[in-house]
């Protein structure tokens, strides 16, 4: 779908992309990076709107430098920012955008009705966009990117500004774009947890450089982490602490849980070495007379990719100094 080869983009003062080489196949691909990591610059180059300083990029097998128009006819783009005029209805707006993509008038109207239905806009599509909620506006933005039935859509931060329910809906919709509609998706986000659930493949860039590119299963299934939560009793006012000490005595080290992950403080995380780890935990908790609230397998979070790389970087700096 997308292939870049030592793609660089330099502005007078900043290097937005630095010899980036990635290969993105069909499916839902997440493009992760902090703000300013070069995500939007990459999208501009992929749409053929901004020339790369060096390197090459191909989208759907078309060179971005020479075939920009052909690419834009087959690719949908949903920008991060607001882009909707408030005084027209969703239907009128999306019909217009469909015609701007080259669809004949009748087809544009038909596709608009279909697409708005698929993104979940019904009666309200005849009302002016100005009165829509953020969630509905995001759906209209998504609809205009899908209305011409592209082979690939580029979604720039589609969950921005949405509440948790809206976020989940949007992510489910993104999943459907590939699963049901057969349209490949490149979705950017700075929230890793979201992409973990939605994407088949994740590309992490930082400072314009490729940090990592692999499938989400690779990211999250290298090792199994166990999460344990226990009750407190009179004998052990801090049950969590008691279990940590007891496990330590049995030679099982507990990972530091207060690393910003949910439930930190009350949840112990440890690496399962095999079947016997489960038995050890059970025995320890039973010996202490505590109640075991939960013991579950937890997948690694993509955020650990960042933590690892940060640690490596610090190490490198440490060695250098």
């Amino acid at each position: 779908m997308i292939a870049t080869e030592s793609l660089s983009k330099r502005f007078p003062r900043v290097t937005a992309l630095d010899r980036l080489s990635v290969d993105v196949g069909p499916g839902v691909t997440g493009l992760v990076g902090a703000n300013g990591a070069g995500k939007s610059t990459l999208i501009k180059i992929l749409l053929g709107l901004s020339p790369a300083t060096e390197g090459r990029a191909e989208v759907l097998g078309l060179d971005v430098a020479t075939k920009g128009g052909d690419i834009r006819e087959r690719v949908g783009y949903m920008p991060e920012h607001d882009c909707l005029p408030p005084d027209v209805s969703a239907t009128e707006f999306v019909v217009h955008m469909a015609r701007m993509s080259g669809l004949p008038p009748a087809a544009a109207r038909e596709r608009t009705a279909d697409t708005l239905r698929h993104v979940g806009l019904y009666e309200e599509r005849y009302r002016p966009i100005g009165g829509y909620s953020t969630g509905m506006k995001q759906r209209v933005k998504l609809a205009q990117a899908l209305v011409h039935d592209p082979q690939l859509v580029l979604l720039d931060e589609p969950t921005n500004g949405l509440d948790p329910v809206g976020r989940d809906d949007m992510l489910a919709l993104i999943r459907r774009i590939y699963a049901d509609f057969g349209i490949s998706v490149l979705v950017t986000s700075h929230l890793l947890g979201e992409l973990e659930r939605t994407c088949d493949h994740v590309v992490v860039i930082d400072g314009g450089k490729l940090l990592r590119s692999s499938s989400t299963t690779d990211f999250t299934q290298n090792t199994t982490t166990l999460a344990i939560e226990v009750t407190d009793t009179d004998a052990h006012p801090d049950g969590t602490d008691a279990v940590r000490d007891a496990l330590h005595a049995r030679g099982v080290d507990v990972l530091d849980a207060d690393s910003g992950l949910p439930g930190a403080g009350h949840i112990l995380l440890l690496t399962a070495q095999g079947e016997e780890t489960y038995d050890v935990v059970r025995d320890v908790v039973a010996d202490l007379g505590l109640g075991l609230v939960r013991m579950e397998q937890r997948r690694h979070h993509i955020s650990e990719v960042f933590k690892d790389s940060d640690a490596e970087r610090k190490e490198a700096v440490g060695h250098g100094g």
Partner: protein
């Protein structure tokens, strides 16, 4: 048989959940998209396809443009006059305030909204290029202004023929009038769009366009009147080069058989007229160039 098979309503009113249907019809590409943008913008200039509120002003101005022409025709027919009270070429000069108001209200409507609501990046994520966008918007506003300025001329022409005025005379005058308003439309649309494309704020755009058009016209006519009063009549045509309305006046009085509205009817001679034509064409080209430059930077 047929009687024994009653049609059940459920059979015909069932809602089918047809899943996603892909599109494999024609994709008409860049030129078609540009034409679509042109027609959408042209309709938008008269509030068509937009809210009722946005139809009021352009429609009102259109009516205001045509009513005097209708009255003149009525008078000419009733009094069996030998000629229309106003030349075809002069009509737009007389109605210039209405025309200025129209371009001031519709140029920002056409381009400032796209900037303000950031719709421009969406256009450029489509097959069209920046130059296509500029051409479509420019052509649309110029066409809308041509409709505004040519419609009253058509009223005059039809009225003149009904009043059985001389056909050759009227046709010639009508044709000259059309050429004149076509130039005027291109010039005014260009100036209006260049100013409006600088600001995403519609109010600023409207004020700026009105200011540029009326201040330049006011300054030029004042200077011309002073020059005329002091007897330096030679300077009058040269001063006229500095406002859009007097430019058009100059071109048509030199080449389109119009009587100049300059003080003392001191329109430019043929030689000076060439300078006028060059100035008008140069301005139109400059506006187009500036718009292209403006949008080259917008991007995503």
């Amino acid at each position: 048989m047929a009687v024994e098979q009653p049609t059940r309503a459920g059979d015909q009113t069932r809602i089918h959940n047809i899943g996603y249907r892909s599109y494999d019809g024609p994709r008409l590409g860049r030129a078609y998209a540009t034409r679509s943008l042109y027609s959408q913008s042209l309709r938008g200039s008269y509030g068509l396809g937009r809210s009722v509120k946005s139809k009021v002003l352009p429609m009102l101005l259109f009516v205001v443009m045509c009513v005097p022409a209708a009255i003149m025709v009525a008078v000419a027919v009733a009094t069996k006059a030998n000629d229309l009270p106003v030349d075809y070429t002069r009509y737009a000069i007389i109605m210039q305030a209405v025309i200025s108001l129209y371009v001031a209200s519709q140029a920002p409507q056409s381009v400032s909204r796209d900037l303000r609501f950031k719709t421009v990046p969406l256009y450029f994520s489509r097959p069209i290029e920046t130059a296509d966008y500029v051409r479509a918007k420019y052509a649309a506003l110029a066409s809308a202004m041509f409709v505004l300025t040519a419609a009253p001329l058509l009223v005059l022409y039809v009225g003149a023929l009904l009043a059985k005025l001389d056909f050759t005379d009227q046709t010639k005058g009508f044709a000259q009038g059309l050429v004149s308003v076509a130039l005027l439309s291109l010039l005014f649309a260009g100036i209006g769009l260049v100013i409006a494309s600088v600001t995403p704020r519609r109010g600023f755009g409207i004020a700026a366009v009105i200011a540029v058009l009326t201040i330049s016209y006011g300054a030029v006519t004042t200077l011309q009147a002073i020059a005329d009063a002091q007897g330096t009549t030679d300077a009058v045509p040269w001063i006229g080069l500095f406002s859009p309305v007097t430019l058009i006046d100059g071109v048509q009085s030199a080449f389109l058989g119009a009587n100049s509205a300059f003080p003392g009817a001191a329109g430019p001679s043929n030689g000076e007229g060439v300078v006028y034509v060059l100035a008008v064409l140069g301005l139109i080209a400059a506006c187009y160039g500036l718009l292209l430059r403006r949008y080259r930077k917008v991007g995503l």
